[in-house]
């Protein structure tokens, strides 16, 4: 019988092509706008590391030495010596200090003098295990020092054509560095380990180098760097009040969190007692979600736009329903005839359901195409959206399901009304 209902639905569409085109277009525009907005929102609000996002904490210390800090405290970056104190606490399961820099590199053996620009993460070895960075080849850095590097997938493609480059060497500023690992393509949305200063949706890094090596080589900070008493080179900055290192810790239990918080507070108190800072003790541990909330990673304007698109979709459903009301009004005599010939109300409802699913499927397909177009236009107008304007399979599925639901909602009332009429009245 479902096959018959589908055949009747196709005939119904063929019978009123203009009306159904308008219904489908109306729903598709509404769903398309919502789906593209959902794609942006879900990219922004996504959990980049769901397996342990509640156990990874950004560490903020308030050790700014002046009372009149130009920055909101606690500062989200810290000094080298504070970072060393945190790295040596022994409390977290894993703990990482890192900063972003930028270098130019090429294969050591390359005859060409062309070097590729590489966004570079200077970090400690736990970085890869803490962030669950996926390795294609090799291993993580063995130390915060030395001449080892890990390549991101894109850079490995550029320099070594995507082959297993472990054991090969790259040249950075005239010095050789051995490749010990290569990552698979790695997308983090948002890039939780570095979301500050509107950089949450930038790609993961091209190159990973040992922290101490980067500092020794004076590879500058490509991000927040604040200082009160020093403006020299990186290599000499270690004992000074230069704040540029981000700290992340993996704390697997509440007891571990409490213990680590206490450790930070004690350290901060010691600094205060020693006269190194005058501030109230205020050290923060924020897990990935809390940290994203604090940094307002999800654009509040997008939330407002989401509400607007939902309201727009409701208007579209009402419009589609009005059109279908006229269509079902015209079909009342045929429905009466079908009832007279033995169709039950349930059968006519099932037929209407199939028709709604057919309309919803067409509208859904069109809506997904439109949402792709909306996103493409958004990226042209606002290039910053490029990293998040992605139609993930989940959004495609949700968009399609919404299209089916809206088609059902649009059909429901007209169908119920047409089916409620008495048969004898319709057969006159």
């Amino acid at each position: 019988m479902w096959h018959y209902y589908l055949m009747l639905s196709l005939r119904s569409l063929k019978r009123s092509p203009t009306l159904y085109s308008m219904v489908i277009l109306t729903l598709a525009i509404g769903v398309g706008a919502l789906a593209s907005n959902m794609a942006l929102y879900q990219s922004m609000a996504a959990d980049p590391i769901p397996e342990k996002s509640d156990r990874l904490f950004h560490v903020s210390l308030n050790s700014w030495p002046d009372e009149d800090s130009p920055h909101q405290q606690p500062l989200f970056v810290t000094r080298y010596r504070d970072a060393q104190q945190v790295l040596s606490s022994g409390i977290p399961t894993k703990v990482v200090a890192h900063y972003q820099t930028r270098v130019y590199t090429k294969s050591l053996d390359a005859k060409s003098l062309t070097r590729f620009a590489a966004d570079t993460r200077a970090t400690t070895p736990d970085f890869f295990a803490l962030t669950n960075a996926p390795f294609a080849y090799g291993r993580s850095l063995s130390s915060a020092e030395g001449n080892e590097v890990v390549l991101g997938s894109d850079l490995n493609d550029k320099i070594f054509g995507g082959s297993n480059s472990v054991g090969k060497a790259v040249e950075i500023e005239g010095k050789p560095y051995t490749v010990v690992g290569v990552l698979k393509p790695w997308t983090l949305r948002p890039r939780f380990y570095h979301m500050e200063q509107d950089s949450a949706f930038r790609p993961t890094d091209d190159l990973f180098v040992p922290l101490e090596t980067a500092i020794d080589n004076n590879w500058g900070v490509n991000g927040r760097s604040s200082s009160v008493d020093y403006s020299g080179d990186m290599a000499s900055s270690r004992p000074h009040n230069r704040f540029y290192l981000s700290l992340w810790a993996q704390l697997d239990s509440a007891a571990q969190q409490d213990s680590f918080q206490q450790y930070l507070d004690n350290y901060s108190q010691q600094l205060k007692d020693a006269g190194e800072h005058p501030l109230a003790i205020n050290n923060e541990l924020k897990n990935v979600h809390e940290w994203a909330d604090k940094l307002k990673v999800v654009d509040q304007r997008l939330l407002a736009f989401s509400i607007a698109t939902m309201l727009f979709l409701i208007v579209c459903v009402f419009n589609a329903s009005s059109l279908l009301l006229a269509k079902y009004h015209d079909d009342k005599s045929e429905m009466g005839l079908r009832r007279a010939l033995g169709a039950s109300r349930n059968q006519l409802f099932r037929q209407g359901f199939v028709e709604a699913m057919l309309v919803g499927s067409i509208a859904g397909s069109l809506a997904l195409l439109l949402s792709w177009l909306f996103l493409a236009c958004s990226v042209v107008l606002l290039p910053n959206l490029k990293a998040i304007a992605q139609l993930e399979p989940a959004v495609l599925g949700q968009g399609f399901a919404i299209a089916l639901l809206t088609a059902l909602l649009s059909t429901g009332y007209p169908l119920w009304r047409a089916n409620r009429a008495s048969i004898s009245a319709e057969m006159k």
Binding site: R11, A340, L341, S422
Partner: protein, 240 residues
Amino acid sequence: MLSMQNVSRIYRTETIQTHALNDFSLSVNAGEFVAVTGPSGSGKSTFLNIAGLLDQFDEGEYSIDGVSVKGLSDNQLSRLRNEKIGFIFQNYNLIPDYSLFDNVDMPLRYRGFNGKERKRRIEEALEKVGLASRMNYLPSQLSGGQQQRVAIARALAGEPKLLLADEPTGNLDSLMARQVMELLHDLNKDGATIIMVTHDPDQARSVPRNVQIIDGQMTDHRVYQPQSVSASVESEAELA
């Protein structure tokens, strides 16, 4: 076959109450051909709607083929309508963009027959009304009389116990009306039970049993001597 006992149908508005059928009783046996006549607004259509389970009644008892319809659900009534009743409407009620085949197929689909069985029944029914060779035509390609024959084929395809005809020749010229009436008489001779509402006294006279409804009540219950349709047409010619 059909038994109505003291059936009443009352239509109410805020200000008035109308008895469309008032304490109406009628029994029709299997194989009978009954003509129901009466002036406009007398209750003929209400009777036919109730008999065809298209409308409900307020009081009384009604059973069809031994099944009491009182208290049946919509699904049960639909099933009964589909299996036991065939309708022939004055304006044919064919779906214009469906072929004759698909129009006749409609009640069979709701009956749940498989494709082979439906095809057999459709071909037989269209054969019976002389339109088997045109089953892929659209209704608009046929004359009014042919369209009514398609409607009769649709009613016959489900092999119902009872045929209900509401002014089946009302929209036809005399020649086509005669052909349709001949077809109904042939069906009756083959054993079909038919109840036909008509305004036409000649047609009523050609039917073995007449029932007259006035003001929702049966007022006359005469049994005419059977008179052939052709004889009736001849008398029309004489009058002319």
